[in-house]
């Protein structure tokens, strides 16, 4: 008997006429790690909510079919028993933590399900010890980093000692190091405690190796569910997007046996030869941003320290570094919304002496959340809003920017009804309509699925090719490696490396692309799958 079984499950959200889940049949064995992946809006989170009982008990709507937990229909299980059996960790740690201190947050759920008072303290501190965060037990939650908050949420879930924990994109808001730590905790929970894990994630690289089974969803349907081996062997091209990069490469090389992990893949290709990549042509444009001895503070600490950098016209710079490295503060200082000492000259003019309005005409800045830019009834109105604020009456610019960003056909739609990728485009278009010479983006790929991310990269490349200088903060080295031409690596407010891919990523330990990590012992200057595909020399061993 399967531990969790979904039988012919259909679901309509309240007032929706289209099914979000369509005839889902799915079974999870006790102790497995199941990875559910798929595009944004494919129904992954809704499926998880059906298993927790939040659908339909919290959301309402119409449900068809059945969900069984240990053979018992979920409709017959009380909320209390269900909460003890299966719990969930959500995407944004900010929106799931209710208490102020860590130890009380862990205890919150235990209090809810009526755990005997003499057992709560032991559960709280044992869970904290297990996830190795007992040193922050008495800390105020607001003082924690994103990674620490997510670990608190996982510890709170663990404290019930449930039989299943569902994690909905648990690493999407975290930097790579924090995300790796979260993965390690989840693995430990599964291996040592035997707790069944269901992970919902669009970016599979980190989770694929951990998973026992893979499920891929599309438009409310499960298009694949099974072992990794059959997933790898499947001829369905739709699955290729949701394979880790090294497996995509293995598929390209037509390696028959699925490599178990990156290490095995490295062994599989150790005799592979690559042609030398062509050296990239250095940008010889004029300096557009000149920064000298820049210092900035964030709250009480020095976030940017003695930073010197010259950015040339036409550069496409990826700014990398851990959370708290000073990347956003650096960008805000260039934008003139953060006080600084030293000098920032944009087109020869000192930023501190300019009005924000004047800077905004030259530099466009797009923050992390595209929803911050969406307040009007239609996409057209949203773009017009920026033009009106700048007293620009040439409304032909609106059509121009909408066409350029491929959102012209949705110009009369409410921007909040659009997909994640389209919303991101509207946000960027609302800034680009005044034709700034420089565009700065703070983590634009956060939470985007692989297709949307790829389209965003292409669009930014197009803007860059048209002459706009682009500065982009990202944790996604694969994305940066594919689309950026220059890179700057920051640690603790300092610039530790700057240069092109070869100079920065090629010399990186951790801050480089997956493909580079895989084949750098053979050829250190290959960074993308496309490059690897183009440059490998086929030999007998890979045939």
């Amino acid at each position: 008997m399967s531990y969790i079984k979904l039988e012919n499950l259909d679901y309509y959200y309240p007032r929706e006429k289209i099914k979000t889940l369509n005839n889902i049949n799915f079974a999870v064995d006790q102790g497995d790690i199941v990875l559910i992946t798929g595009k944004s809006g494919s129904g992954k989170s809704t499926l998880a909510k059906c298993i927790t009982g939040a659908v339909p008990d919290f959301y309402g709507g119409i449900v068809g079919g059945n969900v069984y937990i240990k053979g018992e229909n979920i409709r017959n299980i009380s909320q209390k028993e269900r909460a003890k059996e299966i719990t969930m960790v959500f995407q944004d740690p900010e929106r799931q933590l209710t208490m102020n201190r860590v130890h009380r947050e862990i205890a919150f759920g235990l209090e809810n399900v009526g755990t005997p008072e003499e057992k709560i303290k032991r559960r709280v501190f044992e869970s904290l010890q297990f996830t190795n965060i007992s040193h922050i037990a008495y800390r105020d939650i607001v003082s924690l980093s994103g990674g620490e908050k997510q670990k608190v949420a996982i510890t709170a879930a663990l404290s019930y000692m449930p039989n299943c924990i569902i994690l909905d994109e648990p690493t999407s808001q975290l930097d790579p190091s924090a995300a790796d730590e979260v993965c390690a905790i989840i693995k430990k929970i599964n291996i040592e405690l035997g707790i069944t894990i269901i992970v919902i994630e669009q970016r599979v690289d980190r989770w694929f190796d951990l998973a026992d089974k893979i499920s891929v969803m599309e438009d409310g349907n499960i298009i694949f569910y099974g072992e990794k081996e059959s997933y790898y062997r499947s001829l369905d091209k739709r699955l290729l997007d949701f394979m880790p990069t090294y497996l995509k490469f293995a598929k390209l090389l037509k390696i028959e046996q699925i490599p178990e992990d990156l290490k095995q893949m490295r062994n599989s290709i150790k005799k592979l030869k690559f042609k030398n990549p062509i050296d990239e042509v250095k940008n010889s444009g004029d300096i557009i941003i000149d920064i000298k001895h820049l210092f900035c503070t964030y709250e009480d600490y020095e976030a940017v320290k003695d930073l010197n950098v010259s950015i040339k016209k036409g550069d496409f710079i990826g700014i990398l570094g851990a959370n708290g490295a000073g990347k956003s503060t650096f960008m805000k200082a260039i934008m003139g919304i953060k006080k600084y000492s030293g000098s920032i000259k944009v087109l020869g003019r000192e930023v501190a002496k300019l009005k924000l309005r004047d800077i905004a005409g030259t530099i466009g800045y797009v923050s992390q959340n595209p929803n911050d830019y969406l307040t009007k009834e239609t996409v057209y109105e949203e773009i017009k809003f920026t033009l009106d604020n700048f007293n620009i009456n040439d409304y032909t610019l609106i059509d121009e920017v909408l066409k350029s960003f491929d959102i012209y056909d949705v110009k009369d739609k409410n921007p909040r009804d659009l997909s994640g990728g389209q919303r991101q485009r509207v946000a960027i278009a609302s800034i680009m309509v005044v034709k700034p010479k420089i565009l700065m983006l703070d983590e634009p790929t956060r939470g985007l699925d692989i297709k949307i991310k790829e389209n965003l990269g292409k669009m930014l490349k197009k803007i860059n090719n048209q002459g706009t200088t682009v500065l982009l903060i990202t944790h996604d080295t694969d994305f940066a490696g594919e689309f950026c031409s220059e890179f700057m690596l920051m640690f603790s407010g300092e610039k530790v490396a700057i240069g092109n891919r070869e100079e920065v990523l090629g010399n990186g330990i951790f801050y480089t692309t997956t493909i580079n990590k895989l084949i750098r012992s053979r050829e250190k200057n290959i960074f993308t799958l496309k490059q690897a595909q183009e440059l490998y020399v086929e030999n007998e061993e890979t045939k």
């Binding site: 009982g53 959500f90 809810n112």
Partner: protein
């Protein structure tokens, strides 16, 4: 110190602060309101909030001066004239009334500061959620949202300034207009955030059964002392008021006997005793290496 404060039960803390608040509101006698300041000051100083206390008093001085000036200008009641200007008498009674009113307001603020120092918010939530869980969770979510909304407002102001919105525009109507997009984002964000916290709480079994309490605080001797002293203080005050022993009205007559009388002296002594008890309760245990 936090540990000592944590040992005081939420209920005793609430009773103590409530009694002090009643006394501040119901009495105009300078000796009584001066007496109330003593326990408040003692706890704040011992809890390491001396700088906050000083800052509150300093910030309050301009307000007190303003109140005094306004009261002196508009109120001519009183017998003791300090000076006459433009044929207008400025009385000592109006001066003292404004001073005492300002001080009472300062005390109310300090009582809330005291409450913040004495009650750990999580401890309070734990206590109240076992008594009235639905109300508590609603309050909890709302309270968590205000600082987040403030933070969001700052970042949204930056974003919309970059989009050309001029927040320094003149006129109330125009000002409101500039803030509409920000408020619409914040409203939607807050609703989504509240919904998410609600869902997370639901999945974690909130309201699924009778809650148990983590780290349940029991009444200890210190709580009985605080409750007893607070009740004695309140009871004595009510009796004194009922007997008319504290009917001090500054505009009637500034008479020292009306300020210092049996009733007010009794209350003053009781507040003094209360301050001493609180100091003893909060006294750190000293460890000696033998």
């Amino acid at each position: 110190m936090r540990k000592k404060l944590d040992n005081i039960h939420v209920f005793s803390t609430l009773v103590l602060n409530f009694v002090l608040l009643i006394l501040v509101i119901c009495s105009d006698n300078p000796l009584i309101i001066g007496g109330i300041f003593i326990p408040i000051m003692c706890v704040l100083v011992v809890a390491g909030k001396l700088s906050s206390l000083k800052r509150s008093i300093l910030l309050f001085i301009p307000f007190a001066i303003l109140t005094i000036i306004i009261n002196l200008i508009f109120v001519t009641q009183g017998k003791t004239i300090i000076f006459i200007l433009f044929n207008r008498a400025f009385t000592l009674e109006a001066f003292i009334y404004a001073l005492s009113l300002s001080f009472k307001l300062l005390l109310v603020i300090l009582i809330f500061m005291l409450l913040g120092v004495m009650i750990d918010s999580d401890k309070a939530v734990s206590f109240f959620s076992s008594v009235m869980p639905k109300t508590t969770v609603t309050m909890m979510v709302s309270l968590k949202m205000f600082p987040q909304m403030k933070k969001r407002m700052t970042s949204l102001k930056e974003i919309y300034s970059i989009r050309g919105v001029d927040f320094k525009v003149k006129g109330l109507k125009n000002k409101i207009k500039t803030y509409v997009p920000l408020l619409s984002v914040i409203l939607e964000d807050s609703l989504e955030s509240a919904f998410d916290i609600g869902e997370s709480s639901f999945v974690r079994g909130f309201l699924s059964s009778k809650r148990t309490v983590y780290d349940r605080k029991k009444f200890i001797n210190n709580d009985y002392i605080i409750l007893f002293s607070s009740m004695i203080l309140l009871g004595t005050f009510i009796i004194i008021k009922a007997l008319g022993k504290d009917n001090f009205n500054v505009y009637d007559d500034i008479n020292l006997s009306k300020i210092i009388n049996k009733g007010s002296v009794t209350i003053f002594i009781l507040t003094f005793v209360l301050a001493g008890e609180l100091l003893c309760i909060l006294k750190e245990k000293k460890y000696v290496i033998h």
